[in-house]
């Protein structure tokens, strides 16, 4: 039951926001729905961490370890972005109670609902449709400000990701064919994994590549990555947090679901393709970070970098690498959400693209941006550092020393590139005098989002550790 209710909660908030209301009732309803969804997701995750999958309708709606990791991350990102929106929307986008504000919350909740749906579905064809919905329901959020740049960003985003979706569709159809040919019963993730050893290698390889390239468009994987900088520059900050922390997570989840299937077919070379695509994306992303024009772009490109790292980890195979991949999914999601909220705070206090001396303009926003930069670049002892280090170690342990060394080299260059940009924005002399105070809800959301960023590097609580191990089992089988 819980599983069915979770995506319905944001839907209810979206319906609520359709009707005119006083003050910030729509924002309040959004926060309430997000909090309830997060609570429910956490209860599902606790059960999964103990090794017991939650099943609502067998074969259609269910949630195991990997699904629970994606679910709880999406719900968490949604909650912090909803709280941040409470302050951000009225400060930057639309006055409280206006039509534009309601439009924002309708779109926001529909998008959140579609994101929560993806990890709950067991049938790959329906997962494909849910992923397509996440694109369609976020288009108007990306183009929310209706400026020329925002509309262009929205158009690029929708065209490139839907192009990828059409490619992935053929991949899923081939998967179904392979399943039937192998005598498999149900078209579910589990059914695919069970039938994998009897599938022909060539067919599996074609299907896996189509899905990887197609869904990769949503992750910003090279070569369908050109929508990324525009969308992240023009989308409102909480939407960026959802795009990077939640949307990328669920799409990556769908790809990771296929990894054990493809790895179960001898001769399909799934690991090699994952490592190749992953390294290519990491390399291109690092060079894009080097020449990025502002810190929002830096965070956008660093999303591509992290997705690439996770794919490499999944391609390495083995228990350690799978654990590293799961840990990196978690670390990326919580850290990048914090980064985009910090970028949003910076945009609130000083609405200019070129920012310098943020620490003097607003100590809260400046400190947050600095922490976000350090965390996402992978400074020890924060969570991203730990998971990346695990992946390097796994690379050497699994006898892929060249891939591991290349990855480590790219990540090191990426670290300095990210910090150079963040330094410029945070330190230095402040150019502007006029400062807009940061709304209380934004400060609260930043503080709440910073807790897992700081905490997970030093100490991973038992349930979270259990969840990561469970998720790793599903990636690495």
């Amino acid at each position: 039951m819980t599983l069915i209710v979770i995506p319905l909660l944001p839907l209810a908030a979206a319906l609520w926001a359709l009707f005119p209301q006083r003050g910030r009732a729509a924002a309040g309803a959004t926060m309430a729905a997000a909090a309830a969804a997060a609570g429910a997701a956490w209860s599902v995750a606790l059960r999964s961490a103990a090794g017991a999958p939650t099943v609502a309708i067998s074969g259609w709606i269910a949630c195991d370890g990997l699904g629970a990791l994606a679910l709880v991350l999406v719900a968490g990102v949604n909650l912090s972005a909803a709280i941040f929106s409470y302050g951000y929307v009225s400060a930057r986008l639309a006055p409280a109670g206006s039509r534009a504000e309601r439009r924002y919350y309708v779109d926001y909740n529909l998008f959140a609902g579609s994101l929560l749906l993806v990890p709950l579905l067991s049938e790959p064809a329906l997962v494909w449709i849910a992923i397509e919905l996440t694109t369609l329901l976020s288009v108007f959020l990306v183009g929310f400000t209706r400026t020329r740049g925002a509309l262009e960003a929205a158009w690029k985003y929708v065209v490139l990701t839907l192009m990828g979706a059409a490619i992935a569709l053929l991949g899923f159809l081939l998967l179904y064919w392979a399943l039937r040919g192998a005598g498999g019963a149900a078209f579910t993730w589990d059914g695919l994994t069970a039938a994998a050893p009897r599938m022909p290698a060539g067919l599996m390889q074609a299907a896996f590549l189509l899905v990887l390239v197609g869904l990769g468009a949503k992750l910003g994987l090279v070569p369908l990555h050109t929508w990324v900088p525009d969308a992240y520059r023009h989308a409102p900050a909480p939407v960026c947090a959802l795009l990077s922390g939640a949307e990328a997570t669920v799409v990556l989840y769908a790809i990771l679901r296929l990894v054990p299937v493809a790895a179960g077919v001898p001769g399909a070379h799934a690991g090699g393709w994952l490592i190749g695509f992953g390294l290519l994306s990491v390399g291109v992303a690092v060079f894009l970070i080097l020449q990025a024009s502002d810190y929002k772009h830096v965070f956008a490109y660093s999303t591509i970098e992290h997705m690439g790292i996770i794919l490499v980890a999944a391609g390495l195979g083995g228990a350690l690498a799978s654990y590293g991949a799961a840990a990196q999914v978690l670390a990326h999601s919580v850290t990048k959400t914090f980064c985009f909220l910090a970028a949003g705070a910076a945009a609130v206090v000083t609405p200019r693209r070129e920012i310098q001396g943020l620490l003097r303009i607003s100590p809260v926003a400046g400190a947050a941006l600095l922490l976000g930069g350090l965390a996402i670049a992978g400074a020890p002892p924060l969570a991203v550092f730990l998971s990346e280090f695990t992946i390097f170690r796994a690379g050497f342990a699994e006898r892929y020393p060249i891939a591991a060394a290349l990855l480590a080299g790219f990540v090191a260059v990426g670290f300095f590139a990210v910090m150079a940009h963040v330094n410029r924005a945070v330190f230095g002399r402040a150019g502007v005098r006029k400062v807009i105070p940061l709304p209380g809800a934004c400060v609260f959301a930043l503080a709440a989002a910073s807790v897992p960023v700081l905490w997970l590097g030093v100490y991973v609580p038992r349930p979270v550790l259990g969840l990561l191990h469970q998720a790793a089992l599903w990636i690495g089988r």
Partner: protein
């Protein structure tokens, strides 16, 4: 599966015409003609589904064909007319980034590539898959080409949907018994795509005054400077 020569020949015909309409989408120069080619392509997809249904006796395929005609040949043009301003819809003489002979050559190369990729995957004894899989893949590739060479919003939208048609042409042969719920949801999805991109096209038209996407990109680059 026993496949009668008639059904195979008819399906070959539908597949060949499907490929022609996919190529037509790359070269026609009017928004109206582009849309007409897409409707024709969808009808041919439905025809292939009907032929396969008759030959294999899978009733789901009849439903797939009917849904395809209802959604892509009837509802879609109507919905597009409702959301996209008339002025864009009737515009003529589209400019393209790659000229027609070059586009045709690339389309030819893509078709060959699709054939080379798909034929080793298809079983020798199934004449339907041996036609639908390579042509579906070629349709996917060629429509992707039309997507990148077009400058106008509506033809780009049509190119996207044509990519999906290509995937489904392969799908009716390789996954004929895919649960109908997936097919229904995918059709619903097509309508949402048209609605969302139609509204976006209208917003671009109203705020920017052009639906030439390339021009839009160039202008907004200038603004950033």
């Amino acid at each position: 599966m026993v496949q009668s020569a008639w059904a195979v020949a008819l399906n070959d015909l539908a597949g060949g015409l499907f490929l022609l309409t996919a190529v037509a989408l790359v070269v026609v120069r009017q928004v109206q003609a582009c849309l007409a080619a897409f409707v024709l392509e969808s009808v041919l997809l439905a025809a292939s589904a009907f032929i396969l249904a008759a030959a294999s006796g899978i009733p789901d395929l009849v439903a797939v064909g009917l849904i395809t005609i209802a959604v892509k040949a009837v509802l879609l043009p109507w919905l597009l007319r409702g959301t996209v301003p008339e002025e864009i819809y009737t515009r003529r003489e589209l400019s393209q980034l790659v000229n027609v002979p070059a586009s045709l050559l690339i389309a030819l190369a893509l078709t060959l590539a699709a054939y080379l990729i798909a034929v080793p995957l298809a079983p020798a004894q199934d004449a339907f898959i041996r036609v639908n899989l390579p042509i579906g893949l070629a349709g996917l590739f060629i429509s992707a080409l039309s997507l990148v060479t077009r400058r106008e919003a509506v033809p780009q939208l049509v190119g996207l949907l044509a990519m999906e048609n290509g995937a489904f042409l392969a799908g009716v042969s390789i996954a004929p018994d895919l649960p109908l719920i997936a097919e229904l949801a995918a059709s619903f999805d097509v309508l949402v795509i048209v609605l969302v991109m139609g509204i976006l096209t209208r917003a671009i038209h109203e705020h920017v005054g052009t639906t030439d996407i390339v021009e839009l990109v160039e202008r907004s680059d200038e603004e950033e400077l």
